[in-house]
């Protein structure tokens, strides 16, 4: 039987505020357990939560960047459930009037653009962290709770079930991450749990429209995990359906070590959140002026930026997509081309030697010892013919080590390209004299031999001879 996969994502992103959503405790990651807590985030009786204004601003920013309609009247609700990472026994979240709704995000898969609808974005508080005493969550006799993360602000971005497989889900998640980084509302460090997804997946017979029963996989916090967990789950559900079985609607967790999803049965019997309006928080009313002011403050987003780089700088779609993956990279590129450096060359260097060196040392582009201004200087030296692209690689390595200006390196190391005809002619003559066999071969019609001779000339000039001039002079002498 053939099936279609139907996937929807609920992406949770912690916001990069200084303090928690309803209290003044810090949001810093990695503090000692239970040191970033107060009566409000511990849910002690009689406290009064007050919303952090930055959270609302960041949520609206995300809503606008994801093409949502901002609800000018928004409120909080209590989502009731019992779990020890939730000290109040309810999570303060948003139910019927979330801050943003009805958005979309265009993703690129196999050269095709696909629009993924975004149902809603709501604000809520994160839960605490459980440390289990056993080897797995299922065999622990007790658990330890750290409430430092409790109350850290989150936005939850809920998509419609418009994704049709592991790859689309990964690309969608990558793009969400990229946008949240561009608008600077989240650290997006997936390894720290800043950004994670609950993935809903179901299968239906190809050609039918009725959704099948879904399974939900919680807290996937890497792109690879999303892809692997989905691939596994699709296989599992296919097997069950092929055998005539039924999918059980349930929450499953991804077991990285075993490479499989496993059922997560909790003691909670009925999944009834009994939402009720939060009486301790008053409604949030946003005016058109406030929304437009936030919209005006948005940076140029990846899609617009990509189009600009293609139209104004002549980059290919592929190059433009890579350069705009992160805002840091896009800004590095912009700074470089503002120095009148050739755009295509800058892109090549960024994706080539620069990327290789950054990856090798695990650095982000903002930590690069070669600044955008310096890379532009290097590219300009190539464009002017001062150095060859080959020598530029040596210069770049030196720049990476010392952070020095390329001009200084070229001067000190005597790397200036030889463009003096007389000087090159001398080298050409001596190479011809020293290699009678290849010269004869060439004259006898073996065109390949000229490559060997060029190589010898470049070697003798220590890579400094202008390659175009070498070619011309050599041909003039042999033909």
């Amino acid at each position: 039987m053939s099936y279609e996969t139907v996937v929807g994502l609920e992406v949770h992103s912690e916001l990069k505020t200084n303090t928690k959503i309803f209290c003044g405790c810090p949001t810093t990651f990695g503090g000692e357990q239970n040191t970033h807590v107060c009566p409000v985030c511990l849910g002690l009786p009689g406290v009064l939560p007050v919303i952090n204004e930055k959270v609302v601003e960041f949520a609206i920013k995300a809503g606008l960047a994801l093409n949502c309609k901002i609800n000018k009247f928004s409120k909080f609700d209590r989502k009731n459930y019992y779990y020890p990472d939730l000290p109040k026994n309810f999570q303060t979240s948003q139910f019927d009037l979330p801050i943003a709704e009805h958005g979309y995000l265009d993703i690129e898969v196999n050269g095709q653009t696909k629009r993924i609808r975004i149902t809603r974005i709501h604000m809520e508080e994160d839960a605490g962290k459980l440390v289990h005493s056993g080897t797995t969550i299922n065999d622990s006799s007790s658990a330890c709770v750290d409430y430092n993360r409790t109350g850290v602000p989150l936005i939850e971005i809920v998509s419609e079930p418009d994704l049709s497989g592991p790859e689309e889900a990964r690309v969608y998640m990558e793009k969400i991450k990229s946008i949240l980084e561009y608008i600077d509302v989240s650290h997006c460090k997936m390894e720290e749990g800043n950004l994670r997804a609950d993935v809903n997946v179901s299968l239906r017979k190809t050609g039918t429209t009725k959704l099948g029963t879904k399974a939900e996989m919680k807290n996937l916090n890497s792109f690879k995990m999303i892809e692997s967990a989905l691939a596994y789950e699709i296989e599992r559900q296919t097997e069950i359906l092929d055998d005539g079985g039924h999918i059980v609607q349930e929450t499953r967790t991804w077991d990285e070590a075993k490479g499989m999803t496993v059922s997560m049965r909790t003691k909670e019997e009925a999944n009834d959140y009994r939402y009720l309006p939060e009486p301790d928080l008053v409604p949030i009313i946003t005016s058109d002026e406030q929304i437009e002011a936030i919209r005006a403050g948005l940076p140029e987003l990846p899609d617009a930026r990509k189009k600009r780089l293609m139209a104004d700088c002549g980059l290919s779609e592929y190059d433009a997509a890579i350069i705009t993956t992160t805002r840091q990279m896009a800004e590095y590129f912009d700074v470089a081309i503002a120095q009148k450096a050739d755009a295509k060359l800058v892109a090549n260097w960024m994706m080539g030697d620069l990327a290789k060196n950054l990856n090798g040392e695990g650095k982000s582009i903002s930590e690069s010892p070669v600044t955008a201004e310096r890379l532009a200087e290097l590219v300009n030296l190539i464009s002017k013919g001062t150095i060859s692209s080959k020598i530029a690689k040596t210069v770049f390595e030196e720049m990476w080590k010392t952070g020095d200006a390329p001009e200084k390196i070229v001067k000190e190391k005597g790397l200036v390209q030889i463009t003096d005809t007389k000087e090159i002619e001398g080298i050409v003559d001596s190479v011809i004299a020293a290699n009678p066999k290849p010269v004869e071969d060439y004259k006898a019609g073996n065109a390949k031999s000229i490559g060997f001779l060029v190589g010898q000339i470049m070697k003798q000039s220590k890579g400094k001879a202008n390659p175009a001039m070498v070619n011309d002079l050599l041909k003039a002498k042999l033909d």
Binding site: Q33, Y82, I284, I285
Partner: protein, 96 residues
């Protein structure tokens, strides 16, 4: 009767309330009385009346994003029935 014994038992479970067997009947009756009263309210014509999101005439109460001192950990843990290494200790979570 809208609310049954089973509903009362389920709500009690969700709320972690232990209700003596003898009182289940009492609560079933009381909860039904509440719902009957709510029915009286729903008979009112509320066309054109905005839903009430909050009983107070307030809106937009915000806090600046400024760090305030947190609690001393010892104090934070002082009411915990059990603790371990600065953590709150709780019973087993998952079904075995």
């Amino acid at each position: 009767m809208k609310i049954t014994r089973k509903d009362v038992e389920n709500v009690a479970l969700l709320s972690r309330l232990e209700i003596p067997e003898a009182e289940v009947e009492t609560y079933t009756g009381q909860l039904n009385a509440f719902l009957e009263y709510a029915d009286v309210l729903t008979s009112l014509d509320t066309k054109g009346v905005e839903p009430t999101a909050h009983v107070l005439p307030l809106k937009n109460v915000f806090r600046a994003d400024e760090v305030k001192p947190s609690l001393d950990r010892e104090l934070a843990l002082s009411n915990a029935p059990e603790q371990e290494n600065g953590y709150f200790k709780v019973p087993k979570i998952m079904e075995g």
